[in-house]
Structures are given as C-alpha cells and as structure tokens.
Symmetry: C2
Subunit: 269 residues, 2 copies
C-alpha cells in the first residue's frame, strides 16, 4: 500500500495535531524520563519587569485572589514569551491560597504564591530559603500596599499598614485597624489586590537579583526573633521552638514564669 503526499501529511498532521500544544515538551519530563523530585532541575527563570508583573498581579487578583495573582503574573508572562513548559502549568489550582488558604487566615496567599514560584525556579534548599527570606522579611516590615494600579477597580485613597507577620489574619487585622475599614468589604479586596501586586513585584525583584545576577539582598529579621531563638531555637539548649516569624505578633505577652521578663517579645503592632 502506498499513500499520497497529501495523505502522509494528513496522517502526520493528525499525529502532530494531538500533541501540538505540547510540542515543546515539558523540560522536566524530558530531562528526567518520567521522574520528578527535589533532585530534578528547576524550570528556567527569565528576567521580568517588576512593574509589569505588579500590574498583572493586580488584575489577576480580581480573577482568582492573592496566591493565584502572584503566581500567574509571573508564570503567564513566561508562557506568553516562551510557551512550554510554563503554558501548561495549571495556574487555577493556586486559587486555594486565598485568605490564608480557603479563608483560614494562615499564611498570606500572596506569600504562598511567591514561595511557590521560588520553589519552581530555585531547587537548592539554601537558595530557596534565601529567596523566600527576602520576600517574607520585606512583607513583614514594609508599610503596604504601595501599588497604585493604572486602572483601579476601586478608586480610593488607600491606607497602608505594617503586617509584622506573614500570616493573613494578623496582616488583614493590622490593615483593618489602621484603615478602619471592615474585613471582607470591597476596600479590603482592593487592598489585597494592591498587596498582591506589591508582592509579585518584590518576588520578581528578588528572582531577577538572585537567579539572574546572583547577588543576595541582605535583610534582617526583627531582633526579637534571634532573641527568642537564642533560648528556644534549633541551635539553643532547649530546642523547643521552630520559627522565623516575628514572635510578638502572636506572643504579645508571656507568662510571669518566663525566666527573663526583660526579653518578653513585644507586640509589634
């Protein structure tokens, strides 16, 4: 049996067609022959513009909230520019981080999205931790939001606040106290959209520096963290606590039984 050129190209076309959208096969699967693990090379990062990323994250927040906003603002620019493997990432899954995961108020979704992006592009544990630290410490210590969208969904004078925490619940609480706006209202949503933009911008700044130029941006944790960890942390004698979060954000007062009352963590709000 012989086929005409048209039939051949038709057959090839069907075969290619079924695979077309993934023709630039996902790098990870290629390089590992079906293996996936922490030992696998991370996806390649390409430098992005921080301001463009912030503007996108703001808009994506109104599509799928904070974690989704930060994550998609970065991945989707790479998808548009380079196609696969970025294009096939199921970004929709990242909606789970909204409100500190399904409104539980735990880790801020914008930071969860930032850390997920960092996890995708930086494989070594030390590098991941260094990049995460730079975004998390910035978030804890900076008066936010600062982003002013090109076309605001809600045109308002936006009050800012310092979270002193990486958790959604105290972060939103601090802003609500500073702004006197209630939680779960349209002003709160606009605040989180702008905060998502700020976090996406900061993540790209850190990735551009850390993965492209290999320059670390030094940031220090609140001094009370090292003070508490001196007795409780992994390198102390007691070794009964594991945390990098600002202690006083939750431990605003300690028992009178604490051996040294002078080093009680202060409430930072």
């Amino acid at each position: 049996m012989e086929w005409t050129r048209r039939e051949v190209f038709g057959a090839v076309g069907i075969a290619v067609g079924t695979c077309m959208l993934s023709s630039c096969m996902r790098q990870e699967t290629k390089t590992t022959q079906g293996k996936t693990g922490p030992d696998v090379a991370p996806w390649p990062y390409h430098e992005l513009d921080p301001q463009t990323t912030a503007e996108r994250a703001y808009l994506y927040h109104y599509e799928g909230h904070c974690m989704y906003g930060v994550f998609k603002s970065i991945i989707w620019q790479l998808a548009e520019r380079y196609g696969e493997p970025y294009r096939s990432f199921p970004c929709g899954m990242m909606t789970y981080g909204a409100g500190g995961v399904a409104s539980w108020g735990s880790l801020c979704g914008a930071l969860n999205g930032a850390a997920a992006v960092i996890g995708l592009f930086a494989s070594r544990k030390e590098q991941q931790a260094s990049l995460v630290n730079q975004v998390f410490l910035w978030y804890e210590q900076t008066e936010l939001p600062v982003h002013v969208p090109a076309q605001p969904k809600l045109d308002m004078e936006m009050p800012a606040s310092v979270a002193h925490s990486v958790l959604c619940h105290p972060s939103v609480g601090a802003w609500s106290k500073a702004s006197r706006y209630p939680v779960a209202g349209k002003e709160h949503m606009e605040r989180c959209a702008r905060l998502t933009a700020d976090t996406a911008r900061q993540t790209v700044i850190v990735l551009n520096e850390g993965l492209s130029v290999r320059v670390a941006r030094p940031m220090l944790a609140d001094e009370q963290v090292s003070q508490c960890n001196a007795c409780h942390g992994r390198d102390s004698e007691r070794r009964d606590a594991l945390a990098g979060m600002t202690c006083g954000s939750c431990h605003s007062s300690l028992s009178d039984k604490h051996p040294d009352v002078s080093i009680k963590p202060r409430k930072p709000l």
Copy 2:
C-alpha cells in the same frame, strides 16, 4: 511524490515520538486553548487507596519534606496509573513548604500540600473550602502522628500530640512539649514524616468522599472560633478579623480591656 507505508509510519512515528511523553495532552491546555485560570476545569481525580498513599507520603517526606510528601504521594500514583497530565507536574517545587515554608514555621507544609492537591482537583471555591476544612479541622483536633510505617527510617515509640493549630510552629512546639524531644532532631523528622503520611491519608479519604461519592464529612471548628467570630468575624458588627484557625493557639490571653472577659479564648495546649 508518493511515500511507502513504511515511510508513512516512520514519519508518523517521529511526529508521535517527539510528543510521546505528553500524548495524553494536558487536559487543561486542551480545553482552554492556552488559557489558564480559575475558570478552567480542574484535573480529573481518580480514587486512591488511603493506606498506600500514606506509606508513599512517609517515604517521600525523606526525599523532599512535608508539602512535597503529601503532594507527590497523590500525584505520582495517578502519574503511574494514567500518565499525563500528572506525570509532567513539577512536584519538586513543593519542597518550598518544608517547615512552614522554608522553616518559617507558618502553615504546616503537610497541610499546604493537601490544600494544593485539593486546589488542583476541585475548582469551585465552595468545594475547595469544604474539602480544605475537612483536612484542616481533622489536623487541628487529632492526636498525631498515628501512622506506623512498614519500614521505619527511625524505629521508635512515637509520642503523639494535638496541634490545636494549622501552623507548623505551634504544631511542632506541642509535639516537642509532649514528647520532650528537641526540635530539628531525627525524632522530630520522623514525627513529621509520619504526620505527612497521616495527612496524605486524610486528604485521600476526603477526596475519595468529596469528589468520587459526593458525600460531605461534617466537622466542627473549636467552639471558641465561632465565639470570637461572633464579634470580630466577617458577619459581625466589628468585622475586624478574618480567620478560621483556633484562636487560643496564639491568643492565649487577652487584654483586661476586652469587653467580656468570660469569653477570652483559652489556650488549648
């Protein structure tokens, strides 16, 4: 020009070959023609065996820690059984959740992995929240770990504790206090590996019920959550707090200025 049958099949073979590993094209990309968002259909879930999942998660924890352990234990079974799109998911990124994200002590990585899996398989916000609630409330209220591995990496009598929190820092702290083992030691690592197994098992139980059989498993938050939210939550008059976490885990004491001292949240530990 005409091609022989062998040449045709050869050409088709090459075309298929370049795409072979992704021949079952990623459902999301297919259905949305390159779009990705919260409106996109989630990936299909297929019922898994909870005990097999737990055993895998235990082993994967020693490969990439808690978030990675839960996430990969589920995705990788589906990858082995069904291939794409599961096989191409870059599971290595999930190492970021270790120790409450890069040892920050925020959201427990096992729960972050569980919520990420739920985000991948359940798209509707209400369904995501319902499934997350069932895993998070179980984690807050259950004495863990209970999993006994078939081949323990560290053969020991494992003390259990109730976290009363979804955060890594108080969860590890409660276990360290109950067990008298220090943090960051080999016993702590073994505890978290078994906790990862427990969380993966619970996630699969919840997914099997919620996505396969459509039966909800009712669980109630600690009563102090509704008590606090009655005055502070999104439906209250003050509307100055947003959280589902057990309040007393952080707020172990409140100011004397609190209007009703009788409803101070208690420290649950």
